[in-house]
Subunit: 383 residues, 2 copies
């Protein structure tokens, strides 16, 4: 049920003909209220797509009625003509829903630097508005897929209220290229400021710690709509506590469906002087192509972990570092520990733990291995 | 002739049995003077191998008689036993040459986290000392190879003096893992401080701008020995002017032999407000797996260039950026330029130019594409 699991939402997914494959490519999620609370976070890439430039302005109001999304084109680096396509999409959606264009968030995903066919997109918006239903969440989740092999949806139930969500993105998250688009909904009664705080807290600990390939998209958007239809009032902390498992589940689905990946790798850095240090070290390991290729080869190559740790500015003494792969302490006190041969990396899940022995903080970053299939997908197809 | 092209040097390369393949694995380069000037630069990785820890101390004196190098083991994260192996290597070499251990630089390359067989290594040092010859430069260049497919040597002739050099490293340079080891020689008469300044200037503009895969080794070393045997006195600038093409040639050979690469990619960033901005942007593009996989796929995917530019802190306005591939302006003023189909990426050399239009500075970083063969070499073999 995805985004339509909470009360007060309708959604639809239709085929507008933007994708050569003829698969669904326009999705619409509408908040029927009574509240129209909206919060959103966007890519930190400075080269932003036209829909992000538009939606950032919309999100600043803390209010919104709908999110309209298309696959089949990122509408990025498409100049004034591209921005006009985004603007017209919001206007058409607003007209159909009886709200203002400034209440419509727009998201796009696909190839950068190609114009969208605006007429097809607008016809798709018409069709999506006509197909809106309280059971439409799953159709919407299908219509945002690009190289995803499965739609990603999740629901979290609470006492008298709930949260739902859909996500697209076949990995490549930093958040990253190929674009992560996520729409979350809740029927809780929440203040805009609390919705914003809860969304930022939940994404910081989940989507922001996925780093499939270190590349960062121009289009990433995570939006939260709150309808208030449950009548249950929640604060920022209570909402964040529900959004966190929802986001974690969607993030985990993104990781598992990352382009060409064979392993999901959790890199946990312990004993850090600060959480920022732990994150810096974990990200550095997560972005080492040599480490990632070794995991693909089922090789617990802790030297490549050390080399990645050594490029950071985190507080640590190289002579006391510990590293383990799946619980086997292959490096202890900066020297050879248990035999590498004890490590079995045949399962999809891999856990690497680095102990900096410099403090009490820790953090985990999730990544994928670097595989032949990753190279194939990203060299054979434009995204 | 490599390191023995300048007068006053002898070298050797022998087989000590450190490599399972039985290929040559110990090299020795000796400066017979009359001068014993030494300068060296090392990896900036904080997790340094034992030979680097040793050699950094030696290099601080500005004096040295020899460089002894082994392949078949990085001697990194091997604890006190590993440091003892390095120390004994320097002592044995010094004894054989009649100098002090503190005048011997040690370099190692190979797998991290495995003990070297010190007895074999010391026997190799004996053999190398016995094989020293003024024609031994090419043998030494072969003995430092690991996954290199060809030895890398170069010579620069000047009026009455010359410089020679050898390098190993099959790509993976930031400088990077698999380790870049370079020994440069000159028969010029030069002060230690001038040798140091010239070496730093030459490496900053060459080896430091190679970024094959963004990974940084624990063992990288570039050493310069000056014998003064030509009797021609040179200053720092004159020496740097000779070392720069020598280093550029060796760097180009490293790039062309990078593991599994099919393209050598020069990323030039123009119109930068500062050289640091230009370098930051060029490095960001050079480290984008998506960009590198696209080059492998012969796809002039400028959206991936933009996305990498957008992650930097350099001064620029996204709306005015230009990007060209091999001279075709595929992106102009932040929007669609010439058709992608005009770009031919079938040749090995690829030139990407990004114009930030924010100032007069520029810089070039060299990288390789991300290929199936890279993944294969780095997943199937430990390094």
């Amino acid at each position: 049920m995805s985004t339509t699991a909470p009360a007060g939402f309708r959604a639809a997914g239709v085929t507008a003909g933007l994708k050569p494959s003829g698969r669904p490519d326009v999705a619409l999620v509408v908040n029927d209220g009574p509240l129209d609370v909206l919060a959103a976070v966007f890519t930190s890439n400075r080269c932003k797509a036209n829909p992000v430039l538009w939606s950032e302005v919309v999100a600043r109001t803390g209010r919104g009625r709908a999110v309209v999304l298309n696959s089949g084109g990122a509408n990025c680096y498409t100049g004034p003509q591209g921005f006009a396509a985004t603007h017209r999409t919001a206007e058409r959606t607003a007209e159909l829903l009886g709200c203002g264009a400034g209440e419509v968030l727009v998201c796009s995903t696909g190839l950068i630097g190609e114009q969208l066919d605006a007429e097809r997109l607008l016809a798709g918006v018409d069709a999506a508005a006509g197909a809106l239903s309280a059971e439409g969440g799953d159709d919407a989740a299908v219509a945002v897929m690009t190289t995803d092999t499965v739609p990603k949806t999740s629901v979290v139930e609470r006492d008298g209220w709930s949260c739902g969500g859909m996500a697209k993105g076949a990995g490549m998250l930093a958040p990253a290229l190929a674009t992560m688009l996520v729409v979350l909904t809740t029927d809780a009664v929440v203040e805009p400021a609390d919705a914003d705080a809860a969304l930022r807290a939940a994404t910081a600990a989940t989507f922001d710690r996925l780093d499939s390939d270190g590349c960062q998209s121009t289009n990433d958007t995570v939006a939260l709509l709150a309808s208030g239809a449950s009548g249950v009032r929640v604060g920022a902390e209570e909402l964040a506590a529900a959004l966190r498992p929802l986001c974690a589940d969607l993030a985990s689905q993104l990781l598992s469906d990352a382009e060409g990946s064979e392993h999901d790798v959790a890199i946990t850095v312990r004993g850090a002087a600060s959480e920022a240090d732990a994150l810096e070290v974990a990200r550095s390991v997560a972005r080492s192509n040599l480490f990632k290729a070794a995991v693909f080869g089922r090789d617990p190559n802790w030297g490549r972990v050390m080399a990645a740790v050594g490029t950071t500015s985190a507080a640590f003494d190289p002579a006391v570092l510990d590293v383990s792969f799946n619980g086997v302490a292959v490096c202890r006190d900066g020297a050879v520990g248990e035999p590498r041969s004890l490590v079995d990396l045949s399962a999809r899940d891999v856990e690497v733990v680095v102990d900096l022995k410099a403090g009490p903080e820790e953090a985990t970053v999730w990544t994928n291995d670097l595989t032949h299939a990753y190279v194939h997908e990203n060299s054979a197809y434009s995204t």
